[in-house]
């Protein structure tokens, strides 16, 4: 009687060996992945300890962001009085307030994330620990992922606090918000920021004294072209192409659409796919550039503490 089908087949010893080998390979890969995750957590935990110890700076940074956001958003609240002859309804003013509130909140978030990632090198150099971290058996991806995850969580928490304070000053009309869509766009947008953050972290590694200040230029350029406080359509024609390559443009647009207009995830696809593309391109690019810069630093002796 002929046996057919897989159920009737008895695996040969060779197949057993192949399966065992595959299984051992998978187990090794999992162990390696878990080990890298564990090492990545070292950077999250360390940054948390540093945040706790430098709590004064946290308060200063939070206060600065809140005051900055209030100053900008009051422009919207006073639109009726600052533009003579024009009449806005309260609903229109509320929308303008919400527009700027989202802009200032996201700008605070982006700034905190960028600072966190850029400081990956800066703080190590300042404290003098850079050589010890870079000679540890940790891949740079693991290192940067740890720094980025903390920066994203840190930025998110500070931004939520900022929004809570803003809500005490302004009536924020959130009745149409699709929070799930907002959350998705935040997550996708955050991932797309990691690659740019990694690229900016290269500057303090190569330029030991002025690298951090140079990283501000990247942030300032994003602020100018991404439509943080105004629609990108008001930019001069030659600047607008830069808006289209900035992930912050799509992050802001998606958030405004989901919170102000109640757009759902499917309707936000036109913001989501550019963010995904940006993440897919910028993360490997950022990691590669960081790797090349690290090699250059090792060749030229720049991988050392200040002073």
């Amino acid at each position: 009687m002929l046996q057919s089908g897989r159920a009737g087949r008895t695996p040969s010893s060779g197949e057993d060996g192949a399966l065992a080998s595959l299984s051992a390979g998978a187990a090794r890969m999992w162990r390696a992945f878990a080990s890298e995750l564990y090492k990545s957590y070292a950077f999250i935990e360390r940054n948390w300890y540093l945040t706790k110890r430098y709590w004064g700076w946290e308060i200063v940074w939070l206060a600065y962001n809140i005051i900055n956001a209030l100053s900008v958003t009051f422009i919207a609240a006073s639109a009726q009085k600052t533009v003579p002859g024009l009449h806005f309804t309260q609903a229109q003013i509320n929308q303008f307030v919400l527009y700027l509130t989202i802009g200032t909140a996201i700008w605070s978030y982006v700034s905190t994330v960028f600072d966190g990632v850029t400081e990956t090198v800066t703080i190590e150099r300042w404290e003098g620990t850079i050589e010890y971290t870079f000679m540890a058996p940790v891949s740079r991806i693991t290192h940067l992922v740890g720094a980025c995850v903390f920066a994203l969580i840190h930025g998110f928490v500070l931004t939520v606090i900022q929004l809570l304070v803003m809500s005490l000053f302004f009536h924020l009309d959130l009745s149409r918000a699709d929070w799930l869509a907002a959350l998705i766009i935040m997550v996708v947008g955050s991932i797309s920021l990691i690659g740019i953050g990694a690229i900016s972290a290269v500057l303090p590694m190569l330029f030991t004294e002025r690298g951090s200040q140079m990283a501000f230029i990247i942030r300032a350029a994003l602020l100018l072209v991404s439509g943080v406080y105004y629609p990108i359509s008001v930019l001069p024609g030659w600047l607008q192409p830069f808006a289209y390559i900035s992930p912050v443009t799509y992050l802001l647009d998606g958030l405004r659409m989901s919170i102000q207009s109640g757009s759902n995830t499917i309707q936000l696809w036109y913001d989501i796919w550019p963010l995904l593309v940006c993440g897919i391109i910028s993360i490997p690019l950022g990691m590669s550039i960081f790797g090349v810069a690290e090699r250059y630093a090792k060749r030229t002796g720049k991988l050392k503490r200040n002073g």
Binding site: K39, R46, T129, F134, P137, T300, K302, L303
Partner: protein, 343 residues
Amino acid sequence: MTSTQQRASSLSHADQPENETTAPQHKRLGALTEADLADLDTHPALVIDHLSKRFVKTGGRSLWRDLFAWLRRHAKGESGSATADHKSERRIVRAIDDVSLSVRRREIYGVLGSNGSGKSTLIRVISTLLLPDEGRVEVFGHDVVREERVTQRLINRVSVEAAFFRKLSPMENLLYSSRLYGVPAGEARELINTTLMRLGIKPDRINQPLESMSRGMQQKVAIARAFLTAPVLLLLDEPTTGLDPRSKQNVQVFIRELRDTHDATILLTTHDMDEADALCDRIAIIDGGRIVVEGTPDELKALVGRKLGLDHPATLTEAFMAYTGRDWESDEPEDDDNDEEWK
């Protein structure tokens, strides 16, 4: 018995007289794999083969300078290296010049040299922080450039500056370091407490910010950091410089203990001739980036004694002076601390 308990147990052996130390055992944590351990028995701890490292002193922003020089050369249609562009400001210095040496497993090998002689550069190349221009360096058979990650698992370092996050406590700093080397947090906490107390740091200081501790105590924490990751090759770059005599002695006892009970090979750079004499099995004197002599302390002292026509061996200080031709205290600052750019 967990590996932590094994370590704690082996720490207590340090209280025994020196001649009663236990036989070397593999008591390893975290970073090392079984393959790494197998390599320990089949290769010398450290092989440096015709290593050279040059640097260019520019006194400015070398990246921009290099970029502009490169653009200028290409605009003129010239080719070749940056050396074609030297003007008065660029000075190429050979920090390490054709250095070769080999260190056996469980050896304490001293590198003596004046400031700027290339000791720290040598340590930084072995630490994977600098890429050599020529030659190769192998740690237990692993090339430090091509097998960087494996090398990093095998080594750790204590430098003259106890580099830490100053606002963080010893516990927080050492937990961070332990995690990077894959030591489980629970095990690391226990080991951190045991090690720091063994080094004379009181329990109430373990959770205080490091910035409130003296330099000697910080240096002890730095030694604990290296110890926690169970390096098989420990690079000590002037670890006792600036310490008071008691702290210096504590550190020296600990260095011996690391070798005797923890199976570590130690490369030690120092200015302290008495320390080198007491600790090192072999010594190399390095001057101007080149090794000028190598041998056991007794060999070097006897050799120089004969050269000087003495009827007794010379001191190690006399040997150092004889081979370097000058007093180390009057030399240039060490390369790590000046504003030189490495080529």
